[in-house]
Amino acid sequence: MNRFFLLLTAGLAACGLSSCIDVVPLDVPKAGPLLSVDGQLTDQGKPATVTLALTQPYFNDTPPPPVTGATLFLEDDLGRRDTLREQTPGFYRGQGTVLGRIGGRYTLTIVTAGQTYRAETEIRRTPEVDSISLEFRNDPPSYDEGYYATYNGPELPGVGDYYRFKVYKNGVLFNKPEELIVSSDELVDGKYIGGLIVNEDPLVSGDKIKVEMLSVPRDYYFFLNELNRQINNVGLFATSPANVRTNVRSTQGGATQTAVGYFAGYTVRADSVVVP
């Protein structure tokens, strides 16, 4: 959707009604810190990892203050339990007694500063990636001349699958706000996803494109989708800024927000291609 509106805005500019965006100084209120969670568990045989930090004032560009000395453990639906140990300040990793598996359900517990938080997630079914291939295009303005990497793979029959695609060029993740790719199968259910171009600019000889396809839980899909909107929320059709959901909840109850971020389970399937 956002891309469409970007294109429409480009259309306006083409009409000579050039709008403009400039940076302005602004005093915004400063809020007290909340616990921020960035954690995942995949089906790739590696233990869970969690990064804990505190939120900081919006215009504070220093690295987020890590939350150290917290107690974290992960339980699954088979009754197993894993304790996550702090590796570097604020970064915690499990011991491997709980690993991600398709169909598994997991609960992460975080105890810090006298508060207990819980986050629940699951790992869902996944299709496979058939291949990442190359396609030569030369039809500007849509595509400048050159090679583009395309994704090819099936989508599982039955609505209710959700995906994130992570694209790496020469080992570096495309991770600008507008490069977050999240999608549901609502419009493509059970279809073969072929010839889906994954990069914006034409590739040159020697470039390597790797695509990771993550099958993500429904709630995490909404989290990513909301996050996507908030970090790309500029323009004529922007929405009023609003908080992104979280699955990290304080066990003490109460309706007010106490933590932000997400602990997510997902599968990872990947393939890559090198431009000859």
Binding site: L7, K30, A31, P241
Partner: protein, 800 residues
């Protein structure tokens, strides 16, 4: 004798608007003797008031008998009816900008009599900006009503030289917008979907071209428009905040003529001519933007398209003295295409067939059959990602409206209407076999809206008159399909439960409502009055939009089991006063409005192509209150107006802002507009407008966190609209130069030179937050200005 006289005066007051004014003016002049003694039962003079040159019906023109102090006003079709005792009278026919016409008639029996009025010579030095009769604002029982004629719209400096109906309306008190480039307009703290916009009686669902920069109405085809903000008559309903009644020109019934213009953005041409002189006429009017024609010259852009066009056609024909048929149609479209990547187009289509029938000199009927549709399409034309997504709202409607000039003291309006709606919220189909997309069709909904109304304009002497009425409405959602209840925590996405099947015999929702309406006028003196207005309005269809400005893709949703009809009660009180023999008119109005069942959205709601849209909707209350001040100078070389609105618009929604009241996104504390037109000579006039308004309410983050390298804004406690975008202000100027008058030539040209945003202020449309493009750990606030600079333009207009 005297009491009879008073009654008559009252009748005139009732007969609408302006004449009562004239009445009251003459009344205090002690005992003006009637020209003839009444000798029998009253007789009625009725007919049409028309423009002598074009045959256009003159909406709101007046006929007046000075000796009786009695008068009447022409309705939307130019029909008037004036009942007087038999006798010999001098009738005066007047209309703003037209030379008053007098004639003396012997009235012994009912008489059908149509009159043509001629414009005042050269229509330059005297520039009358607004209104239909000089003191209509004080005399009419209507409250919260503004009228603009097409000339006024064209006098205001326009964005890129494109005279625009909706932009002109935004200069009136009580009217605002969330920003330039935003579609629609907001009236007295209401949403853009709460305005009933009628074009020749057909509802228009999206009033904008190019997102919101221009409105869909071709100013060359518009004859008259009326905005009613309060005390809305019972004949109208279905939206909470206002009625914008736009009447298109009927077409010149005297000779072939035309108007047109060539501007930077678009060109216009309209042609009108008689079908049979004095019996029927037609008008064809079209315009098209042509920025895209330049795109073709740029190799990179040659496959891109971006343009809009609209076309309207109207014909009328008199079937004898008593019957008249009108057929009108409108078709407008915006088209965008970016190579093979993307296409999007949208537009309105309306068609109206009307039949006027004069039963007798006191009973007038209009029967209307109409269709209206708004639809859009978007998608990728070809390839593996090829799809087309379409959506529309379509309605067919029939109605009958009677106007009964019951007695000199009483005019009644009554009628019935029915609307049949079809809503297609979204259908997606792949454009070719290899497309990755599958077919998806969101559930179609169907609904009917019935209404019956009656009202009476009644006068109790010259100082007091009322218009009171009642509208009974019934809405039934007659969709076939499965509907759900939704459970969960308010403010979070809800879960559908309890699926239920519905069919037309078992309506999804059935909502009857009674909507009382009232306006009253109390004359304090010849030139001042107090007016009170009350209305209850009910709205059964809702525009689902959670962006700051509505997008062309937003869909209308009918009331269902869960989505209840919106309701509003509004009270307004106004003081109207004219000075210096109506050279100046002024008003001050206060209003208060309460709204139920207002719709809002959970954070991050997905309002498009969502099969469980209702899972993301929230409901609550709204309230708006404010004061509007208006001063207008009608005469002299300098004319214009000043309007200022102080208001507040808030809502309380369970699940938003901790369930506390918060400012609506279109809440603006101060809105000021100044419009001036100065006639330097017969050929040259200068005009200027100044706008000032408080910035819109928005939410700013108070904290941030980093998730997988992406910086995410956050607001502790989920507060909503905790910040104001900087104030908006702008000055526009224009000069209009008419060609040298050549009475022997029919072609008359004029140039309009204008500069929009003269001091090049970068007004903030919105303040947004993002990561710095070069340094992703750095966050910044950015200002989006729709126009970063001043915009000069030149337009050539012509008539023939």
């Amino acid at each position: 004798m005297k009491s009879r006289f008073l009654l008559l005066a009252g009748a005139a007051a009732l007969l609408g608007a302006a004449p009562s004014a004239l009445v009251a003016q003459t009344l205090p002049a002690a005992d003006p003797a009637p020209a003839a003694r009444p000798t029998g039962p009253n007789v009625t003079l009725s007919g049409y008031l028309k423009d002598a040159a074009t045959g256009e019906a003159l909406i709101g023109a007046t006929v007046f008998v000075k000796s009786l102090g009695a008068g009447a006003t022409a309705n939307e079709y130019g029909f008037y009816s004036l009942t007087v005792p038999p006798g010999r009278y001098t009738f005066t026919y007047t209309y703003v900008g037209y030379a008053p016409t007098e004639e003396t008639l012997d009235l012994t029996a009912n008489m059908a009599h149509s009159v043509k009025l001629g414009t005042k010579g050269v229509e330059t030095a005297e520039v009358v900006v607004l209104g239909k009769a000089p003191d209509q604002n004080v005399r009419s029982v209507e409250t919260g009503v503004s009228r603009l004629d097409a000339r006024a719209i064209k006098l205001v400096p326009a964005l890129l030289g494109e005279a625009d109906v909706v932009r002109a309306i935004q200069l009136l008190p009580g009217v605002s917008t969330v920003g330039e480039g935003a579609t629609g307009f907001n009236v007295r703290g209401g949403g853009i979907d709460q305005n009933l916009i009628l074009m020749d009686e057909a509802p228009v669902y999206n009033s904008s071209h190019l997102f919101g920069l221009f409105s869909v109405f071709n100013p060359d085809a518009v004859k008259d428009l009326k905005l009613v903000k309060g005390g809305i008559p019972a004949a109208y309903g279905g939206r909470l905040s206002s009625l914008l009644d736009i009447r298109m020109k009927d077409g010149n019934s005297q000779r072939l003529s035309g108007t047109g213009g060539v501007g930077l953005v678009s060109s216009r041409l309209s042609v009108e001519a008689p079908i049979v002189k004095d019996k029927g006429s037609f008008i064809l009017a079209g315009r098209r933007s042509y920025a895209d024609l330049f795109l073709k010259l740029i190799p990179d852009q040659k496959d891109n398209r971006a343009y809009f066009y609209d076309f309207s056609a109207k014909a009328n024909y008199a079937l004898g003295e008593r019957d008249k048929l009108f057929l009108s149609g409108y078709f407008g479209r915006d088209v965008f295409k970016f190579g093979d990547l993307f296409q999007n187009n949208w537009g309105n289509q309306t068609g109206t067939l009307r039949w006027n029938h004069v039963f007798n000199s006191r009973l007038f009927l209009n029967v209307t059959a109409l269709a209206s549709r708004y639809d859009y399409s978007l998608g990728v034309p070809t390839g593996t990602q090829g799809f087309e997504w379409t959506s529309d709202i379509t309605n067919y409607s029939g109605k009958a409206d009677f106007e009964f000039f019951r007695s000199p003291q009483s005019v009644m309006h009554f009628g019935v209407s029915s609307i049949f709606y079809t809503f297609q919220p979204g259908n997606v189909v792949p454009t070719e076999a290899r497309s990755v997309f599958r077919e998806l069709r969101l559930q179609e909904q169907r609904a009917t809206e019935w209404a019956a109304y009656i009202d009476e304009e009644r006068s109790f002497g010259p100082v007091f008159s009322v218009q009171y009425g009642l509208r009974a409405t019934m809405f039934e959602n007659r969709s076939t399909g499965t509907f759900y209840d939704y459970v969960g925590q308010r403010g979070q996405q809800l879960t559908p439960v309890n699926p239920q099947s519905y069919s037309p015999s078992r309506p999804v929702g059935s909502y009857p409502n009674l909507e009382p309406r009232l306006s009253a006028r109390y004359a304090l003196s010849e030139s001042s009055s107090l007016k009170l207005g009350y209305n209850r309005m009910v709205q059964y269809i809702h525009l689902i939009s959670n962006t700051t400005a509505a997008t062309p893709l937003d869909v209308w949703l009918p009331s269902t089991r869960n989505v209840k009809p919106e309701r509003a009660d509004q009270i307004s009180l106004g003081y109207f006063r004219n000075f210096k023999n109506n050279a100046y008119e002024a008003s001050a109005e206060v209003f208060g409005k309460q709204m139920d069942n207002q719709i809002d959205y959970i954070a991050g709601a997905n309002t498009l192509l969502n099969e469980n849209l209702e899972a993301e909707l929230l409901y609550g209350r709204g309230r708006a209150y404010g004061a509007e001040f208006y001063v207008k100078k009608n005469e002299g070389r300098l004319t214009g107006w000043l309007s200022y609105t102080l208001s507040r618009s808030e809502r309380q929604i369970d699940g938003i802002n901790q369930n506390k009241w918060y400012a609506n996104k279109y809440d603006k504390t101060h809105v000021l507009a100044a419009v001036g037109v100065y006639a330097l000579s017969d050929r040259l006039s200068l005009s200027g407008t100044f706008n000032y308004s408080t910035g819109v309410a928005t939410t700013v983050p108070d904290s941030r966190y980093v998730y997988q390298g992406l910086v995410v804004p956050n607001v502790n406690g989920d507060v909503r609209n905790n910040y104001r975008v900087p104030a908006y202000h702008r000055l526009d100027v224009a000069a209009t130069l008419k060609g040298k008058p050549h009475p022997e030539r029919r072609w008359q040209g004029s140039w309009v030179f204008s500069i929009y945003n003269l001091y090049a202020r970068r007004n903030a449309y919105g303040i947004f937050f993002r990561q710095n493009e070069d340094n992703p750990t750095q966050t910044e606030a950015v200002r989006l200005s729709i126009f970063g600079s001043l915009l000069p333009s030149a337009t050539y207009n012509f008539t023939f």
